[in-house]
């Protein structure tokens, strides 16, 4: 187990270097960040030169990358062009997005799995067809539509919630954005759980559990659910990364100053250190979430052993 984790961590290194280098090149090779800083005005050549030197922009790209990576490992993600350290932006943005994503995951687990179990056990009945159709609708409609609609109806028209989230983003205000963010994945979790439950409900060990005289509830929760959740957990794990990065649309709609918001600002303003820094952290989140899923696999299914 320990060796497996070490091996997986080592495998992450080339993946990490590959992805970050790609992002680095794309961000720095496209456009001139120094020009972008000055907006419409042409920069003073001497100042531009000085800035280029300060941000290592005068060096070849691979060298810039190496210098950048070196700094990252000392915890220095550089400064945004306005002088604010990128780490400072992260310190405010990540907690908000983590809260939002965690909320979304909770929705997916509570609502998605519950609906999945209900429909999986009642295949072909009205509740099954109804939920199935609903998930199809949810999956087909893009987040910016559901998000804007929810914001308009609940926030503007009926005034149940405040349509925009305040900068501190307390959990209460994130409830609706969290649900909007979760919606598509939630539909997938429902369908995945439903299929898995329906398939396992016919398994021999479920029949054994019934023959043992266990209650319906115990058969479902202890015997059926545990086996059926294995594929669902995989999905949820990979979704952690997706939610953090994919919160961009939701965060824009509800004006949440999280990771997606900062990334978007960074891209629009060609603020390269911000973009590369945030994406680098997201890459790490993705990789670790995937490792966690694989380890969780072994916990859920004892037949899987890592060596």
């Amino acid at each position: 187990m320990g060796r497996y984790v070490v091996r997986r961590l080592l495998q992450m290194i080339p993946v990490f270097i590959g992805t970050t280098f790609l992002i680095f090149v794309m961000v720095y090779a496209v456009g001139d960040p120094v020009n972008a800083m000055f907006g419409e005005r042409a920069p003073d050549p001497a100042t531009a030169e000085q800035l280029r030197e300060e941000f290592n922009l005068d060096k070849p790209i691979w060298q810039q990358y190496v210098l950048y990576m070196g700094n990252i490992f000392t915890g220095d993600f550089g400064n945004a062009f306005n002088g604010q350290p990128v780490t400072e932006l992260m310190a405010t943005a990540f907690p908000i997005t983590i809260r939002l994503a965690a909320l979304a995951i909770v929705f997916e687990i509570l609502v998605g799995i519950t609906l999945g179990v209900l429909t999986g056990l009642r295949r072909g009945r009205p509740i099954d067809s109804g939920v199935l159709m609903l998930t199809l609708v949810v999956i087909s409609v893009p987040t910016f539509v559901t998000g804007s609609l929810a914001q308009y109806l609940l926030g503007v028209k009926w005034g149940w919630i405040s349509p925009a989230v305040s900068p501190a983003a307390p959990l209460r205000e994130l409830l609706l954005p969290g649900l909007v963010l979760a919606l598509v994945s939630l539909a997938y979790v429902t369908r995945l759980t439903r299929t898995s439950i329906a398939e396992n409900a016919r398994a021999d060990y479920v029949r054994t559990a019934v023959a043992k005289g266990l209650s319906r509830r115990r058969v479902t929760v202890r015997h059926l659910l545990r086996n059926s959740l294995i594929p669902v957990v995989t999905f949820l794990g990979t979704d952690v990364g997706n939610l953090m990065a994919g919160a961009l649309v939701t965060e824009r709609i509800f004006n949440i100053h999280g990771v997606g918001f900062q990334l978007w600002q960074g891209i629009v303003r060609q603020n390269s250190p911000t973009v590369v820094g945030f994406v680098t952290v997201l890459v790490i989140v993705f990789l670790l979430a995937n490792l966690l899923v694989d380890l969780l696999y072994a916990v859920l299914d004892p037949r899987i052993r890592y060596a």
């Binding site: 021999d204 029949r207 023959a211 005289g213 266990l214 209650s215 004892p302 037949r303």
Partner: protein, 326 residues
């Protein structure tokens, strides 16, 4: 009063292609301490009958359309589900064919055994665990104390089936239904498992229904046999009498198709044709298309269970000829 009496049981399954009549008027009895072997090919209704007795039939698509199942004098079919649940596992238990798929792969065997005590007797975690170890020792699993925390896939096939047996025996039920308990095992292990089962049955004087298609297994352990064909019992008899002189051509066909050492080099006898589709059981005697003795009456009149002797019944119009022909 018999321990178990199945009376004129009918079970059908609604499928897309029509109604499959899986059990058509089956009756049998099992006394305490007695072993009834139910013999038949796949689809003969032997397992479905057992599942109806246990109350684990998938309903729907299954449906019990007639009959009674009297267990210790009470008609199980008229009991509310909650009461049946309490009987399941504690008063009657079932051993399944494939222990690997019948045990939950993600729970330890200790948990699955202990669950019986925790659910039915309300024992605490620790106490139930200790009882689980005792059970494992009782079915002679080596190093039970160390292995109680292992998962089913970590045991060999024979050991897994012992665990299934232990689980069925946990609450010392009055009736055990073993559905082809040795089919999935190596031949060498089969005998051990059967012996263990027979021994434990004697110890607790339980009734045992042994469902099988293996005539060899039956001869050693059963007291009486019920042979099933197309959802119907075609012959019942004490074991010895049935082996000596079958009173139904289907039974005879089965016995003749056992490979024998003194027939080495000769062609093996087989029963021609296939068992009928349960969606479309032939009129008259269901066995008539395959029967070497079939006559006109077999294609039109369904034979009743004729009384051959006090303990024997045969559903063949010509059961007398079966004896004459010898």
């Amino acid at each position: 009063m018999s321990l178990l009496e199945v009376r004129d049981l009918f079970v059908e399954f609604r499928t897309r292609d029509g109604v499959a009549r899986a059990v058509n008027g089956v009756s049998y009895t099992v006394e305490a301490g007695e072993t009834l072997a139910v013999l038949g090919e796949s689809g003969s209704g032997k397992s479905v009958t057992a599942q109806a007795v246990m109350g684990i039939l998938d309903m729907p698509p299954g449906r019990i359309t007639g009959g009674e199942i009297l267990f210790q004098g009470r008609d199980l079919l008229s009991l509310p589900e909650e009461e049946r649940r309490r009987i399941r596992g504690s008063k009657m238990a079932m051993i399944f064919q494939d222990a690997l798929s019948s045990l939950n792969p993600v729970l330890t065997v200790g948990f699955q055994l202990a669950e019986m005590f925790r659910v039915h007797q309300g024992l605490g975690r620790k106490e139930a665990r200790a009882r689980a170890v005792e059970l494992m020792e009782r079915v002679r699993i080596p190093a039970a104390r160390q292995r109680v925390g292992d998962f089913p896939h970590q045991f060999s096939g024979g050991m897994r089936q012992r665990i299934m047996i232990a689980m069925a025996l946990a609450l010392e039920p009055d009736l055990i239904i073993a559905d082809e308990p040795t089919t999935a095992l190596d031949v060498t292990v089969q005998a051990q498992v059967m012996e263990l089962l027979a021994e434990l049955q004697r110890e607790f004087t339980m009734g045992l229904i042994l469902i099988t298609h293996d005539l060899g297994v039956v001869a050693d352990v059963a007291d009486k046999i019920a042979v099933m064909y197309a959802g119907r019992i075609v012959e019942t008899a004490p074991v010895k009498e049935l082996y000596q002189a079958p009173a139904h051509p289907y039974t005879k066909g089965l016995l003749d198709s056992i490979p024998r050492l003194d027939q080495k080099g000769q062609q093996l006898n087989v029963i021609r044709g296939m068992p009928p589709s349960l969606l479309d059981i032939p009129p008259g005697c269901a066995y008539n298309p395959r029967c070497p003795m079939a006559r006109a009456v077999c294609r039109t009149d369904e034979p009743p269970l004729y009384e051959v002797s006090a303990q024997r019944r045969s559903a063949c119009h010509f059961w007398r000829e079966m004896f004459d022909g010898r």
